[in-house]
């Protein structure tokens, strides 16, 4: 383990992974706790999978307009596609959620699978080997670039500012939106903004951990810490610390035993969640 820490400061890709892990831990713990306490994990699941549509579409358009430098390199980047499809699907989901659509889960499933299928179809149509898209699906923190780390940190700071400013309102509206509505709160606008924020966080996290494993990262640490009955702030902070420690362990195991880093990290988080769940349920009964 000690030699691994020395390696971190000798290899830039390990150092980048380490820095990215700090950003990911803060971002996923903050947004993830919000997702968990509001029971939005299915919404987050639909969002994270459906953005493959934007990723695939823009990657396809990029290959078509490859001769135009501006279009190929600045406009039709998979990241832009992911952001735009994230915004589109967030607005649809927020509208349905706000209007208490009874079939929300069915519609979420539809968005989930249609978005993903369309994405896969565009990947298929795109000529050449799409390494970038494989990365979006399964993620690899060891491939993160300095530019991505900077974007991640800027957005994480932005999220922290929003969450600390609206802390009490997040707490109130999540607890009892009916009463918040009676108190004249614009609950619909609030939900819409925060579902959009979830989608932005998902797009940024997708680059590093991948679509398939993202939901685990958003829900497992906060669900584990919530079992301990702490305040929202403490739950967020401890979820971040848990994510960081397990992420670091995952990085170490991946580096030492040559295993893929995302699955190993998620498996450890899952194991901790199951153990805490059983212990806490056992204590109750």
């Amino acid at each position: 383990m000690l030699s691994f820490i020395v390696y971190i400061f000798s290899y830039s890709f390990l150092l980048y992974a380490f820095l990215a892990l700090i950003g990911i831990s803060i971002l996923s713990a903050t947004v993830g706790t919000y997702v968990t306490i509001n029971r939005f994990s299915y919404i987050a699941g639909a969002l994270s999978h459906s953005i493959l549509f934007g990723l695939g579409l823009f990657n396809y358009l990029k290959s078509i307009f490859i001769s135009n430098k501006f279009l190929a390199e600045s406009l039709f980047t998979p990241l832009n596609g992911a952001f735009l499809s994230g915004i589109l699907f967030s607005l649809i989901i927020a509208y349905l959620y706000n209007n208490k659509n009874e079939r929300l889960d069915t519609i979420l499933s539809a968005i989930w699978s249609i978005g993903m299928s369309a994405g896969i179809l565009f990947i298929f149509l795109t000529p050449g080997y799409n390494q970038e898209l494989t990365r979006y699906l399964f993620g690899n923190i060891l491939l993160v670039s300095l530019k991505e780390i900077i974007i991640l940190f800027i957005f994480t700071i932005f999220i922290l500012l929003i969450f600390s400013f609206f802390y009490k309102k997040i707490l109130s509206i999540g607890f009892d939106n009916e009463f918040a509505l009676l108190m004249g709160q614009n609950v619909k606008l609030f939900n819409t903004i925060f579902i959009l924020i979830i989608s932005f966080a998902i797009v940024l996290l997708t680059q590093v951990v991948g679509i398939v494993l993202l939901i685990a990262l958003l829900t497992l640490p906060s669900s584990t810490i919530l079992k301990f009955n702490l305040s929202l702030k403490k739950t967020m902070i401890l979820s971040g610390i848990l994510t960081f420690i397990v992420g670091f362990l995952g990085l170490y195991l991946s580096f030492t035993f040559n295993l893929p880093v995302s699955p190993i990290t998620i498996l450890i988080l899952g194991a901790i969640y199951i153990i805490i769940f059983i212990l806490k349920s056992g204590l109750k009964s």
């Binding site: 306490i37 009490k168 009892d176 009676l182 108190m183 614009n186 009955n229």
Partner: protein, 250 residues
């Protein structure tokens, strides 16, 4: 007995009809009643009798298909800050990480999107927690409190609104005898200054402090002579009216 005048009407419902889109029959049919200032009104009726729907109409979360509801002579939506609503405590997520004081502070929420709580809001919230006998529990998480204590925190939240009418949805459900009697004493104290509307599915029991009982089973029957009968015959007599059989309790 309190002298009640027509000008003291705080809630007036006139032949309300309400039907959910998915339902075959209307949930409320020709419901009329009046509630006067500082009354203690118990609305009882079986499950599915339309109690929750009626509450939602009174606080303006739903709109009736026909008929008229006036709260302080206005549309319920426009006087929400005069109504304190206490929902069922067990309808909340038991793991939700919120402290007692943060629940009560909800009663001080301001409609401005970017508004923040002030020190005054905090003090008012703290005072109402003291009033319901929950002083010292400010920083305690709701999930760590007993049912009766959660109930009182929700009452404190409604009081923090500085309301004139307190509406409670099934407040005694799942409470033990001790917590129930504490609750009734607390409500009696609140009743000195505010009108209380208590909704219960327990058709067998009505708090003896009620000045009026409204029996709701799709339509409403009003019975408002509880006070007089109490003077004549004492406690525990039975009242039979329409389909409701009521035992008064202390």
């Amino acid at each position: 007995m309190k002298k009640i005048q027509n000008s003291d009407i705080v809630i007036k419902a006139e032949s309300i009809y309400f039907k959910y889109d998915f339902a075959d029959k209307p949930t409320l049919e020709d419901v009329s009643f009046s509630i006067f200032d500082k009354e203690f009104v118990s609305i009882i009726g079986p499950n599915g009798g339309g109690k929750s729907t009626l509450i939602k109409l009174l606080i303006g979360l739903l709109k009736q298909d026909s008929g008229k509801i006036e709260v302080f002579g206005k549309n319920p939506e426009n006087v929400r800050n005069k109504i304190g609503y206490v929902p069922q405590y067990f309808s909340f997520d038991s793991l939700y990480p919120i402290t007692a004081i943060d629940v009560v502070m909800m009663g001080r929420l301001n409609s401005n999107f970017f508004s923040k709580f002030t020190k005054k809001d905090y003090e008012m919230a703290k005072n109402t927690l003291d009033f319901v006998g929950m002083g010292g529990y400010e920083k305690k998480l709701l999930s760590k409190l007993s049912g009766g204590q959660r109930q009182r925190v929700l009452i404190a939240r409604a009081l923090a609104v500085d309301c004139k009418i307190l509406i409670l949805d099934e407040p005694t459900a799942y409470l033990d005898k001790e917590a129930q009697s504490f609750l009734y004493k607390l409500l009696q104290k609140i009743n000195k200054e505010k009108t209380i509307v208590l909704v219960s599915h327990d058709v067998g029991f009505v708090p003896s402090i009620s000045t009026k009982v409204i029996c709701l089973n799709r339509t409403a029957f009003e019975y408002s002579k509880l006070d007089e009968e109490k003077n004549n015959e004492g406690k525990n007599e039975e009242i039979n009216f329409y389909n409701c059989k009521v035992d008064k309790i202390t």
